[in-house]
Each structure stands twice: as structure tokens, then as C-alpha cells.
């Protein structure tokens, strides 16, 4: 590393234990890694590897039992439930496997949602930023469409726009391509890569598909609550190129 880059995530010896009846389940057994601004990290692992537990902690939905987690230099261990909510609102953009859009609500209103919980943003700014975010995911012409009028890929793009609208320091994607066919998955990955490369967004992408991990610049593999592998991928595949190579379908 030639120049110093801002660290978005600093994780040191992170442990998370659950009490199930009289037994203690140790989901995370001491994990340490840092993520720099502008990185595209995939976190991989089979089920039971502690992937979901780590995701919940990264997303400030859960707190570690032990160890430290600094998100953008904020130690989440010291924060209350409400402070965590505000932190999520300001610093994290979630993208879920099941999109989690509000039904019967227009794309624009769905994208506006995080800003409604931010009292510093006026209603005109809210609208402007939502329109802008929809443009960034190439859905500028779908403002008024409700989720059931959109395809799966389009819904996921609305969800990404929602994750972008509060200008987070990190986009946290949880199996974001899990419900999509491979072509649409490549479209989503192409969008993610575009956001990462042209806008410098930091992305943490949790997945169990090695195929998807190939698009990222770094892959962390978990096994049994520990980091099994942490590899940099100096030459990530380009989703855009793969898309171009696929046969053209009539649907899109």
C-alpha cells in the first residue's frame, strides 16, 4: 500500500456468543480484519460458519460479546439501541436477498424511506436525492412503479438505490443476488462494480456463491466462526463484460 487510505471497518478479535438453554454457542470465535474505503469485499462461508452473525454485527443490528468493531471510527459497543439505529441510518446502506421493499409503495417513496428517519433532511432535498439515487441505478423512468410492477432485478435495483440515498460509508449486501437468475445477478454485480469503481463506494457483500465472489477485489472466507482465508483478488472479473458475452434475450 503506497498511500494511507481511510479505514472504514476496523475489527479486532471479534467474538459473539449466544446462550441457548444451558449451552453457550460460540458463533464467532475471534475475528480480525480491516476494510479500507473503496474496497469491494465479499464474505463467504457455508451455513453455520458465522457469516450471518458477522453480517448482523457489521450492520450494527447486533453487538459483539467481546472484541472491538469500529465503523468509520465509531465504537459500536458503547452505543445504545437508539444510537445504533441512527448510526445505521447515517452510515450503512442495506441490500437484502428478499429486496424488502414496502409493497404497494412507489419506487420513489421506497427510496425516500431512509431519509424520512433523518430529521436534518428537508422534503425537497429528500425527493431530489431519491430521484438522483434512482438515476444512479438506471431506473429514472420507474418512479411511480410499485414493487409488483417491477421485475426482480429492477426491485433489487430500487433496493440498491434505497441503500445509496443516505450516502452511507458502506453498502452491506446480504445475498443480494440470491433470488435472481444468473443474467440478472450479473446485472446487479455490474451495477455494484460500477458503484465501487466509478463512485468509490465501499461494498461488503455476503454470499455463498464463489461465482459472485470473483467480481470482488477481496474475499474473506469464514469457517466455524473463524477466518479461514483472506485473499486479495487483484484481477476481478468484470460483470459488464460477461453480460456483453451472454446471448441477448428478448425480455430485457
Amino acid at each position: 500500500m503506497s498511500k494511507t487510505v481511510k479505514k472504514i471497518l476496523e475489527i479486532h478479535d471479534l467474538k459473539r456468543e449466544f446462550q441457548v438453554g444451558s449451552e453457550t454457542v460460540r458463533a464467532l470465535k475471534g475475528i480480525s480484519f480491516d476494510v479500507n474505503a473503496g474496497e469491494f469485499v465479499t464474505i463467504m462461508g457455508s451455513s453455520g460458519s458465522g457469516k450471518t452473525t458477522l453480517l448482523n454485527i457489521l450492520g450494527c443490528l447486533d453487538k459483539p460479546t467481546d472484541g472491538t468493531y469500529l465503523l468509520d471510527n465509531v465504537d459500536i459497543k458503547k452505543l445504545s439501541r437508539d444510537e445504533l439505529a441512527t448510526l445505521r441510518n447515517h452510515k450503512i446502506g442495506f441490500v437484502f436477498q428478499a429486496y424488502n421493499l414496502l409493497p404497494r409503495t412507489s419506487a420513489l417513496e421506497n427510496v425516500e424511506l431512509p431519509l424520512l428517519y433523518n430529521k436534518d433532511i428537508s422534503s425537497s432535498e429528500r425527493r431530489e436525492r431519491a430521484i438522483h439515487a434512482l438515476e444512479a441505478v438506471k431506473l429514472a423512468d420507474r418512479h411511480d412503479h410499485t414493487p409488483n410492477q417491477l421485475s426482480g432485478g429492477q426491485q433489487q435495483r430500487v433496493a440498491i438505490a434505497r441503500a445509496l440515498v443516505n450516502e452511507p460509508v458502506m453498502i452491506l449486501a446480504d445475498e443480494a443476488t440470491g433470488n435472481l437468475d444468473s443474467r440478472t445477478s450479473y446485472e446487479i454485480m455490474a451495477l455494484m462494480q460500477d458503484l465501487n469503481q466509478t463512485q468509490g463506494k465501499t461494498i461488503v457483500f455476503v454470499t455463498h456463491e464463489p461465482d459472485i465472489a470473483a467480481f470482488s477485489s477481496r474475499t474473506i472466507t469464514l469457517k466455524d466462526g473463524k477466518i479461514q482465508k483472506d485473499t486479495n483478488n487483484d484481477n476481478p472479473k468484470s460483470a459488464k463484460e460477461i453480460l456483453a458475452g451472454l446471448p441477448v434475450t428478448e425480455d430485457y
Binding site: 443490528l61 439505529a85 417513496e109 428517519y117 430529521k119
Partner: protein, 406 residues
């Protein structure tokens, strides 16, 4: 988080499920509508009962000479002669709570028409008396103040008298009858009133100017009674004390002396009236309470279902930065919006149905502002009360579990 955003969020959430919102409102709409319609019907019947009771003369006040003790022997009040024209004048001048006043003198005797006769009573009064007793002239005319001034020998006949001395259906108007030996010209017929509460026939009577009865039959300058009508049933008590004051003054009684007269009211009728309206009010309050509580339980029920059904939405909102209080407020505001909009629709429904009841069933209805205000406030409180627990449940969800909820 500002309150306008919360209201916006709650509104959008409600608009997303219009049918459910409407069904939830239905309880409140019916509750408030029923309260307003019930109270309107109740007030209407109360009013019509009151007007019926007052047609029985519930506002009537009777002044009679008091009994007195003369050398140890109590003597019936009627044989005392204390009420005179001076008292009537004083009352007419000074009493503000009475609307009409009439002296009264009565005599028993035989009413005679040719060969037929009938024992009855003649009552000498002023024209106001008909108004005080709610008597109406069915045929012909009533006598005038002019007739009183000149002690005209004219009279009004009650139905029972007519049945007995004009048995063949002749028209008595214009005919001259005799009471004892005095001839009277019949100028009007009283509408039948039937029996009073004690079985006395109120139609067995002849009414004539009091001056005529005083001079030609009784040869007296005194009155046996004074009848007056209070402005309303409520002002009866005020009228009584006012009249007592004026009469004491007019009779020049010193403070240590007892009244030489009595002022009486139709207390029994007034009590009936107030207990009837009291009963109606209680009944309606109970109905109002029950329907609003049912509406409130409806809100709570649907809000609970709604919280469960929208667990995932709540998880999402929390993950993108909604705090517990934001979720609590959202659901609470949803409940309040439902109850307020339901309340407004309920008011409209209540007013409309009151009008429909009046138009179709011809029941009198009176829509009272207080019932609108009270039911509206109660339903807003109901919304807060019954919306709070579901909202609190929603706000305490764990975002991780809520997001994974299927």
C-alpha cells in the same frame, strides 16, 4: 425524527392498505355514529315528552289562601278572603319569571238548558287561563278582556256539560243556557281533556269571565285562587319565590308573620319530567360507552394483527435507521388517524342517520353539539389507549428477528 415525517409515514402505511384501514375505522364509525344518532333520538324524545308534560300544565303555579288559626280552631284556607285584584296587579307588574296569570273563582250549581239540567261547576277566569291550563277552544271563540271588563254573561262549555244538556247533537254555540238563575250565552266549546291523574273529569266545567262569576253568582270581590304559568319548567322555583315575595309585600306582612297564602307547583310532574330525562341520559351514556369501547377493541385487534403481519416491514424500517420510538409513534399515529378519521365519518353518519330517522319514522331528533364533541374526544382517546399496546409491541421487536420473519 420530526413529527411531520411520522405522520407522513403513518398516512402512507394506511393508504397502502385502504380496505384494512377502512374496516378498522368501521368500529369507530359505527360507535360514534350510533352515539350521535342515539343521543339525537333521545334528545328528541326527551323534548317531546317535555312538551307533552308541559301541555299537562307542568309550568303551572297555583296561589291559594292559606289555612289559619282562629282562636284555636283551624279554618280551611278557602274561606279566607285574602287574594284580590291588587295582588294580580302587583304580580303582573313585578314577577319576571311568569308568562301569564289569571285569577279564579268557582261555584257549583245546575247548568240548565230548557228541560235538561246538569250539576256542574262554573269557573270564572281571565282569558290567560286557557293558556295556563293548555286549554283550547274547539269550536267558536274564547271570551276577551273586553268581556271581562264588562262582566259579560258569556261562557265556554266543557264536553261533559254539552253531552248532558245538549244530548241530541245540537250546536250549543249561540244558545243561551242558565247557570242557577243567571243566563249565559255559549260562545265556545273546549277541546276535551279527559280525566286528570286522580280520575276527575276535567271536561265537566263551564268557563266564564271571573268578573261575571264574582258579581252575578258569588257577590264577592275576592279570588279563590290565582293561577300563573312559569316561563319554563326550570324557572318554576324562581317564579315561586318571586311570587311569594311580591304577595307578602302586597299583603303588607311583617317579617314575623306567616304567609296568609300558599304558592304550589306541579312538583310531581316536574319530578317525573326530570327523572325521565335523567333515565334517558344514563341509558344513552351507557350505550355510548359500550359502542366506543367495542370500536376501540376493534382498533386494538386490527393493530395487533397489523403489527404481526408487518413484522418484516418493521425490521426493514429498523435496519434503515428507525428507532424504537419512531416505530411506536408510527403505529400510534396510525391508530389515532384511524380513530379521528373514523370519528369524523362517524359524526357525518350519525347526523345523516338522525335525519333519516326523522324523515322515515317521523321521530323527532335533536342533534346536540356536546354529543358530537364528547364522542369525538372519546374516540381520539380510544385510539391512543388501544393503539398504544400494539405500537409498543412493534417498537420492541428485535430487528434481526423481524427481518428474518416469514
Amino acid at each position: 425524527m420530526n413529527i411531520f415525517n411520522l405522520i407522513r409515514i403513518a398516512f402512507r402505511a394506511l393508504l397502502r392498505n385502504k380496505l384494512r384501514a377502512f374496516l378498522t375505522m368501521l368500529g369507530i364509525i359505527i360507535g360514534v355514529g350510533a352515539v350521535i344518532a342515539m343521543v339525537a333520538i333521545g334528545q328528541g324524545s326527551k323534548e317531546s315528552i317535555q312538551s307533552q308534560l308541559s301541555s299537562m300544565g307542568s309550568n303551572m303555579i297555583t296561589v291559594s289562601p292559606s289555612s289559619n288559626i282562629n282562636g284555636g280552631v283551624r279554618i280551611a284556607g278557602t274561606s279566607f278572603q285574602t287574594l284580590t285584584e291588587k295582588d294580580i296587579k302587583a304580580l303582573q307588574r313585578g314577577a319576571e319569571n311568569i308568562t301569564s296569570i289569571s285569577p279564579s273563582v268557582t261555584s257549583r250549581g245546575q247548568a240548565i238548558n230548557g228541560a235538561l239540567n246538569w250539576p256542574t261547576q262554573i269557573q270564572g277566569v281571565s282569558p290567560d287561563y286557557l293558556d295556563i291550563r293548555k286549554l283550547t277552544v274547539k269550536d267558536g271563540i274564547s271570551f276577551s278582556n273586553e268581556n271581562v271588563t264588562v262582566s259579560a254573561k258569556v261562557c265556554l262549555l266543557g264536553q261533559t256539560v254539552i253531552d248532558n244538556i245538549f244530548p241530541n247533537g245540537e250546536n250549543p254555540i249561540g244558545k243561551v243556557i242558565r247557570f242557577n238563575r243567571i243566563p249565559f250565552q255559549v260562545i265556545g266549546i273546549l277541546s276535551p281533556k279527559g280525566q286528570n291523574a286522580f280520575g276527575q273529569d276535567q271536561d265537566d266545567i263551564i268557563i266564564a269571565p271571573y268578573t261575571t262569576v264574582q258579581k252575578r253568582i258569588l257577590a264577592t270581590i275576592y279570588y279563590q285562587n290565582i293561577y300563573a304559568s312559569a316561563a319554563s319548567a326550570e324557572s318554576t322555583d324562581a317564579a315561586v319565590s318571586e311570587m311569594t315575595e311580591i304577595l307578602r309585600d302586597s299583603h303588607r306582612l311583617r317579617d314575623i308573620e306567616d304567609n296568609d297564602f300558599q304558592v304550589r307547583t306541579q312538583a310531581e310532574l316536574i319530578n317525573t319530567l326530570s327523572s325521565t330525562s335523567g333515565l334517558l341520559t344514563t341509558l344513552l351514556t351507557v350505550i355510548a360507552g359500550i359502542s366506543l369501547v367495542i370500536g376501540g377493541i376493534g382498533i386494538m385487534n386490527i393493530m395487533y394483527v397489523s403489527v404481526t403481519e408487518r413484522t418484516k416491514e418493521i425490521g426493514l424500517r429498523m435496519s434503515i435507521g428507525a428507532r424504537g420510538i419512531d416505530i411506536l409513534m408510527q403505529f400510534l399515529i396510525e391508530a389515532i388517524i384511524i380513530s379521528i378519521i373514523g370519528g369524523i365519518i362517524g359524526v357525518v353518519v350519525g347526523i345523516l342517520s338522525s335525519h333519516i330517522v326523522t324523515l322515515t319514522l317521523k321521530w323527532p331528533t335533536i342533534i346536540s353539539e356536546s354529543s358530537i364533541v364528547v364522542s369525538f374526544i372519546v374516540c381520539a382517546i380510544t385510539g391512543i389507549f388501544f393503539g398504544y399496546y400494539p405500537a409498543q409491541k412493534a417498537s420492541r421487536l428485535d430487528p434481526i428477528e423481524a427481518l428474518r420473519y416469514e
